[in-house]
């Protein structure tokens, strides 16, 4: 975690027009933001576009950041989360009309949804070999509702504490914990079902 004072100085320099300071901020946060976007959106291309969009928005609104109101990381994550929610709403129609033949992964050789429907004709060991655990978990994560997904991503992947998550999501800490519990349980159930079908 970057020291709050260092970030505050970088922000001040950036606001004064220092291009190097802005590049430092981009270097410090781009990987983290990209990971949040990738785990939430599910696609590498979308994640790249969204990350870029977050930084464009950040660059325009950097002057509105107030260090005494919260950590810069929380501010950035809130901005990312808001953008992801917008993106989710915009792409809702596309997902509802998603073709069964469209792969949900960005990899061209990923299995389309149609092939993920269990087919009792194939031997189970062949399925186990083709499914990579991480890819399955990543795809199962996309099936969670956005509220549960963002909560588990921020907690389990970004290691944010409950207070920070509550600030980002603008909900009470108890709600955050409840969402994290439900998200983890739902993910486990989804994976259990997937592996039962496979095995």
């Amino acid at each position: 975690m970057v020291d709050a004072q260092v970030v505050a100085v970088l922000v001040r320099r950036c606001l004064a027009g220092d291009a190097v300071a802005w590049e430092d901020i981009v270097q410090l946060y781009h990987r983290r933001i990209y990971n949040i976007c990738y785990r939430f959106a599910g696609s590498a291309d979308d994640a790249q576009d969204l990350t870029q969009e977050v930084f464009i928005r950040m660059y325009r609104t950097l002057a509105s950041y107030e260090a005494d109101r919260g950590a810069f990381m929380t501010w950035v994550t809130t901005m990312t989360r808001n953008l992801l929610v917008d993106h989710f709403r915009k792409s809702k129609h596309d997902r509802m009309t998603d073709s069964l033949d469209t792969p949900i992964s960005e990899h061209e050789d990923a299995m389309p949804l149609g092939e993920q429907i269990p087919d009792k004709g194939l031997p189970p060991d062949a399925r186990v070999q083709t499914l990579e655990t991480k890819d399955v978990v990543h795809r199962s994560l996309q099936k969670l509702s956005p509220e549960l997904r963002e909560a588990v991503i921020l907690r389990d992947l970004q290691d944010m504490d409950y207070k920070e998550i509550a600030a980002v999501l603008k909900v009470p800490e108890g709600t955050v914990k409840s969402r994290i519990n439900r998200g983890r349980a739902e993910l486990a159930r989804l994976l259990q079902r997937t592996y039962k079908q496979v095995m």
Binding site: Q27, Y34, R39, Q52, R184, L187
Partner: protein, 243 residues
């Protein structure tokens, strides 16, 4: 979720303590009550196992690497500048750069019509060289130094001039011989145009009377010998067969 109490803990309380238990923030009597409730409650026990399993799955996901051009793209999109120089997009290899430069040209060349044209041109060139007797293996031994090229040029020019002079000499000799022949042989009568035309105008399809044409007796031929009577035996001149 039921509200029943097992070992002094409600299910709602168990639910609230779930994350703390997984974060290992529970201790003492509370932890004992929590574990006891998980053992005996039909709902909360499996729920705890599921949440623990889900957390484990999430932790199995590693951080993904951002694309190499992401920082560069962000800087261009925000400041309009590529970089201050400290972070650079990984330079592509020389081979990639050359391929990138040549790709548009190759894109045109790879079109079927261009490929066919180049193929035909190559075929024509190779055929021409083959007919002209040029072998590519001979070209390897060609001396391309400026002095050698100059010498080759003058030698070739000399050969051409010599060949031309020889041809001219031969033609002149032939011309003289022809004049001499013409001077020594008697003048031949010019062929009668009407007769020639007559032969050419024969479209009847009947075979030409060769004997009559080649050996016919013309009125102006001198009669060298004759049998008693009027029919001649031999004539002084014969004419070449006109084909």
């Amino acid at each position: 979720m039921t509200g029943e109490s097992n070992n002094g803990m409600q299910c709602a309380e168990f639910d609230a303590l779930l994350v703390d238990a997984l974060d290992e923030n529970l201790s003492g009597e509370k932890l004992q009550s929590f574990r006891a409730h998980a053992r005996v409650c039909a709902n909360c026990g499996p729920l705890f196992a599921e949440v623990e399993g889900g957390r484990r799955w999430m932790k199995s996901l590693a951080q993904v690497e951002a694309p190499v051009n992401l920082v560069h793209n962000i800087l261009v999109a925000t400041t309009g500048q590529e970089s201050t120089g400290r972070t650079r997009v990984p330079a592509s290899s020389f081979k990639d750069a050359v391929l990138g430069w040549l790709r548009p040209a190759f894109g045109i060349v790879r079109q079927p019509r261009f490929a066919m044209s180049f193929g035909m041109a190559f075929f024509s060139l190779s055929m021409t060289l083959s007919i002209a007797g040029v072998k590519l293996s001979d070209l390897r031994h060609v001396d391309l130094r400026p002095n050698a090229i100059r010498r080759e040029y003058f030698e070739t020019q000399g050969r051409v001039v010599k060949y031309y002079e020889n041809i001219r000499f031969v033609y002149e000799i032939e011309s003289r011989v022809r004049d001499l022949k013409r001077a020594t042989t008697p003048a031949q009568p010019a062929p009668e145009p009407n007769k020639e035309r007559k032969n050419h105008d024969n479209t009847s399809g009947q075979p030409e009377p060769r004997q009559q044409r080649n050996y016919s007796q013309w009125e102006n031929q001198p009669v060298l010998a004759a049998l008693p009577g009027d029919s001649p035996v031999a004539m002084g001149t014969t004419y070449r067969r006109i084909v």
